[in-house]
Symmetry: C2
Subunit: 239 residues, 2 copies
């Protein structure tokens, strides 16, 4: 059940068999969630953290005017609200974008891990640091990239992250979001999101039909995006 998480962690450091057991035995109830359902809402005080096994979700912040900014996309293996274990009160929400299978890990079990498994604790901490690095990268994009470059960057990021959990086929992958949701992530209007997508398609960089994104020219897409995967910290090293 927690294999995708193990793949993610193992891409950054060795994970001992004992640690795998600890994680596996920490997993509590499993739930199948439909698309567009809240996993956690702003203001919630969860007593368990939610791990995505399958599907796509988004972390978002809502404004009074109804505008929404998605601050991160979450994929299989992402411990989406590990944060709530220490932050206690959610300052943002997490919503599923597609049907998802999620596992809940009670906060008590996470606490046990911090008390008894320092190395595993560091790995979980690391995974939240990588979320932070992703936020920084998006922030840099929002402030200093144009729409096409930002979109290209997002596609490169998704591809790289999905590779880690073995969810790519060649340079193609499934990514079930609407253009409106994509716009909420890039800080663009739906109309401009659509036009930007067309631009990338016209350039022969990608195709995007239904749920399926195919990168047609990875090198040029990376160049347009100024994509450097360093911020994802995908290298095995003692942590």
């Amino acid at each position: 059940m927690i294999e995708p998480l193990l793949l993610k962690l193992a891409a950054r450091d060795r994970v001992l068999e004992e640690e795998r057991q600890v994680l596996a035995s920490s997993a509590g109830r499993v739930r199948e969630v439909g698309g567009r359902e809240d996993l956690v809402r702003p203001g919630d005080r969860p007593t368990e953290s939610c791990l995505i096994v399958e599907g796509v979700a988004a972390r978002y912040r809502l404004f009074e005017t109804g505008r929404r900014q998605i601050t991160e996309f979450h994929l299989a293996g992402d411990f989406v609200d590990l944060h709530s274990f220490l932050l206690k009160v959610m300052d943002h929400g997490v919503v599923t974008l597609s049907r998802c299978r999620v596992v809940y890990v009670p906060h008590e079990r996470l606490r046990d891990i911090t008390e008894r498994h320092p190395h595993l604790t560091r790995l979980l901490w690391l995974s939240t640091l990588i979320d932070g690095a992703i936020h920084r990268e998006w922030l840099a994009g929002a402030g200093r990239r144009n729409a096409a470059s930002q979109m290209a960057h997002l596609i490169c990021e998704l591809f790289t992250r999905l590779e880690v959990v073995h969810l790519t086929r060649g340079t193609a992958f499934r990514f079930p979001v609407t253009q409106a949701e994509l716009g909420d992530a890039l800080g663009l209007s739906t109309v401009h999101t659509n036009r930007t997508l067309q631009e990338l398609r016209a350039e022969g960089l990608i195709t995007w039909r239904g749920d399926e994104i195919k990168i047609e020219d990875l090198d040029r897409l990376r160049a347009v995006a100024e994509f450097d995967p360093a911020y994802l910290h995908i290298y095995r090293e003692p942590r």
Copy 2:
């Protein structure tokens, strides 16, 4: 030396005397750094983490074109590159904006803390989670707020964070950055940064002379910013 850090942590949870000792004894060399000097550069592999005791610094990401995006301002008490302890290779830089006094904590000492002081580990982890929350809030602003609202939000945030470390006088505080740097943080051009500042001044919301920001109407500034301090998680609670 590490009092500002203790103030920050103590605003979120009780910090035991023993834990204070551990932190204090982890502090290594102290350094006085001038303004506009790099504390860490992208690509660095630090063996110690840097804590700001006094002054202002900025976390930034550089683009090939020379553009820069500041992703967070760092104040007294901020453990600016605690991240490097687990990320290992820096994916961004940290530069001082004013003269700073900084303390270095060797990674070995941080590792010891994770091995022997679970609660203190959780507090340090928490402080990096709050950095992440700040990133999300900025990202939401960059995507969905206009320039004036973003600027107002930043001022509210700085005020709130500086209160925690006792660096405000009434609604005024020192914040030594140029408008160009401010623009790099908000994702605006220098010219537009200037005009936006004038707008806030003309509205009677703030005055900003030299290094000194004074909030003239906190309620209205908060309203313009849609500022809700929840994301800073300033409440004492067992973590």
